[in-house]
């Protein structure tokens, strides 16, 4: 009861803290100075039609680099923590002293049975594994048909990120959902873990390399004017923005696929 009271008091104090935001906010009439600079000068300086893309990739490019780093750390954490149980180092193993010198916690009964040593590690509860049916023909054919279309759609989204709404993150997530479709249909196309990790690391490395090239060839880190700006509104415009967004899209897509494969675990067959 006291705990619930403390929870209620916490929530009420939180509401009082945030209340000036709700009552004091009034709708703005015009853009703030920073935003009006981005909107009016952004299309001419950077050549991208999508203003949100130009903010993410170039004006606030360092935050995007930080976000890619956070995603990488999360994927590494998930991959580290969910190793298989047999691979983990076992700290609770008592020394095996043979069948005669049994451990003190076991009674004399089990010694009379077959002379197995102690089971190492924490006691494993009996794992219930339902036997899964083989995927039907309709499911397999449908998912094999949809998979290239989904990858093509994801690639379209991140290549055209500077012209239409979308970009690297959305395209990467669509590619990860395409891999998820294959995983759910249990198509026996083994997604090679090493190839995905290789693509991910290479994309991250190329992204930082383009950023450093911006220091030498243009005005600063992650500047997109290292490539020519081109005609406004066509595919090959806006300098290095399509290249950067494609690399981000590939990296995010393969990273999320790795998270999904690690969390799914082994496939029982």
């Amino acid at each position: 009861m006291i705990k619930k009271l403390f929870s209620i008091i916490t929530i009420v104090l939180f509401m009082l803290m945030v209340l000036p935001l709700i009552t004091g906010i009034f709708p703005f009439e015009e853009l703030s100075p920073v935003a009006s600079h981005y909107v009016s000068e952004g299309a001419d300086e950077l050549g991208a039609a999508n203003l949100v893309t130009s903010v993410i990739v170039t004006y606030r490019g360092l935050d995007t680099l930080g976000e890619v780093t956070v995603l990488f750390i999360a994927t590494a954490g998930v991959g580290f923590l969910l190793r298989r149980e047999e691979d983990m180092p076992d700290f609770s193993e008592k020394p095996q002293t043979g069948a005669a010198g049994a451990a003190s916690d076991k009674g004399p009964g089990p010694e009379k049975k077959s002379g197995m040593g102690k089971t190492p590690g924490p006691e494993k509860a009996p794992v219930v594994r339902a036997s899964l049916r083989e995927s039907s023909e309709l499911l397999l054919s449908g998912s094999m048909f949809l998979f290239p279309l989904l990858v093509l759609f994801g690639a379209y989204i991140f290549i055209h990120g500077h012209l239409t709404p979308g970009g690297g993150f959305q395209g990467g997530v669509v590619i990860a959902s395409a891999m998820l479709l294959l995983m759910l249909a249990r198509v026996s196309l083994h997604l090679n873990h090493l190839v995905l990790s290789f693509i991910e690391s290479l994309s991250g490395l190329a992204y930082v390399a383009i950023g450093i090239a911006g220091i030498f060839l243009a005005a600063g880190f992650l500047d997109n004017r290292i490539l020519p700006l081109g005609d406004f509104g066509t595919l090959l415009s806006a300098g290095a923005i399509p290249v950067i967004y494609s690399l981000i899209g590939l990296k995010v897509g393969t990273e999320l696929t790795n998270i999904l494969i690690t969390m799914r675990g082994e496939e029982q067959s």
């Binding site: 705990k3 929870s7 916490t10 945030v18 703030s32 039609a49 956070v70 999360a74 923590l81 999320l256």
Partner: protein
């Protein structure tokens, strides 16, 4: 728009209440995800200007008059980053939950009171 700010704020309150009073570990993580969604709604609603359209320059909005016809692009950029990071943090928290369950066979948070397993 003020009503979206109020909706986002209510979602944060419900999510925080869920995190504080429920005892199941997965339900605490669901409460965190609801708080995340509420905060993103609040941020995007602050950047909205009445009667304006999406920040993309094409045949309907040209470069010269864009300053008068376009919504603020900066909160959209911030929230895009925040959504992806929210997914990464949720995946990491769920991995922790699976590992904790593997050690102690319980998702009930009152069983995890000691510092040492």
């Amino acid at each position: 728009m003020k009503i979206v700010t109020i909706i986002g704020f209510l979602l944060v309150i419900i999510g925080a209440w869920g995190m504080l009073t429920r005892k199941n570990l997965i339900r605490i993580i669901i409460g965190f995800s609801i708080i995340d969604t509420g905060i993103h709604l609040i941020i995007v609603s602050i950047g909205y200007l009445q009667g304006r359209t999406a920040p993309i320059i094409d045949s309907t909005v040209d470069k010269a008059t864009a300053v008068l016809r376009v919504v603020d692009p900066i909160p959209s950029a911030l929230v895009l980053t925040a959504i992806v990071i929210g997914l990464a943090i949720t995946a990491l928290m769920l991995t922790y939950a699976v590992r904790m369950f593997r050690e102690k066979r319980s998702l009930y948070i009152d069983d995890y009171k000691e510092l040492k397993w």
